[in-house]
């Protein structure tokens, strides 16, 4: 689940109202699929219940939109851990990888080191699949190849992103 971490990350940047979180989420991560307001507040509610954010007092005007949310120490620690961990290498990860890179840059974390770890995790998985192929029949070998080609596509994206990190940083920190 990327949405709770994405919202936590945006909150670590600065305390925000729900509508501001939705606006920023849609700008950076939700271009194809904007986040419904209902999901924003449901997620914030769960994060508050679990002690990862604190909701400020409602400001004059009423309604959930009037609360400002602040990340807690526990929430910040979770963001830190999540950003540093490589994702389980499976095909079709681009969205999660992308969110991690953008948030790391916004929060001035070491995005390059994260990409290095992700590259290492991908290559480790590719070694395992290559080993599977060594002794496999055609069906298993082709399934391994399917995984290998997708992981390779991810890796190309990782390398390209690593090469363009400073440019991306300029844009998302603006």
């Amino acid at each position: 689940m990327t949405v709770p971490f994405a919202l936590l990350g945006l909150l670590e940047r600065e305390p925000s109202h729900g509508y501001e979180l939705k606006r920023d989420y849609d700008t950076y991560f939700g271009r194809d699929k904007p986040l419904p307001f209902g999901q924003v507040y449901a997620t914030l509610g769960r994060l508050a219940r679990d002690g990862k954010v604190i909701a400020g007092d409602a400001e004059p005007g009423g309604g959930p939109d009037r609360k400002r949310y602040v990340i807690t120490e526990q929430g910040a620690t979770e963001v830190q851990t999540w950003l540093a961990e490589p994702v389980e290498p499976e095909p079709h990860l681009q969205t999660v990888l992308f969110v991690k890179v953008v948030l790391a840059l916004m929060l001035d974390r070491d995005a390059e080191k994260y990409l290095d770890r992700q590259r290492a995790a991908h290559l480790q998985r590719m070694r395992e699949l290559t080993e599977v192929k060594r002794n496999a029949g055609t069906v298993d070998a082709l399934m391994a190849d399917h995984g290998l080609f997708h992981l390779e596509a991810d890796l190309r994206w990782i390398d390209l992103t690593a090469a363009r990190l400073s440019k991306l940083a300029e844009e998302v920190r603006a």
Partner: protein, 228 residues
Amino acid sequence: MTPLVEARDIHLSFGPTPALRGATLAVERGEIVAVMGPSGSGKSTLLHSLAGILAPDSGEVYLDGRRIDVLGEGERSALRRDRFGFVFQFGQLVPELTAEENVALPLLLGGARRAPALARARTWFDRLELDDLGARRSGELSGGQAQRVAVARGLVAGPEVLFADEPTGSLDSLTGERVMELLTATAREQNVTVVLVTHEPRVAAYADREVMVRDGRVTSPAPLVGAS
């Protein structure tokens, strides 16, 4: 354990252009290590330094604990002939020789007599699925066949280390994979250490581990546990 091949903090410039800026790498005996990195990162220069082809401006290169960067060209040349094997991207077979003679070349250069050298070369043809291609010249071989001949030539003299620079670079991916399968399987069987330069992840996946070269330095993957 002493690494079999080691570079310590080596620097090397071509004129004003630095190619290596403090590269450090240790490879254990029997390991297959992929050296990856973008074009121009210094990965081939690192391989050539480890193999005693290039002498670094500063830093140290060791083979089995013995410093080799300070040796003269004659001694380094003997080292390359007696203890190392090489596979390059292309253009490495001698066109005037048959495939068999190409494979036997390192033995002949090492002083072996022609008949036993050719007989030993022939034993490699089955192993690398080259069967009855021994009499052909390089112009009559496909890219994948020529590359397997090159792998046989790299391994025929029983080297301790095989240096391979983009060994599948000129092949389509299926043919390249077959070459990598045969290269790594044979190297493991003969306990040959392999240093493999490649920019292709699918080729690197045949190695035991990979290192990245960036801006003339080697970066190993960071540990996966513990956030920084």
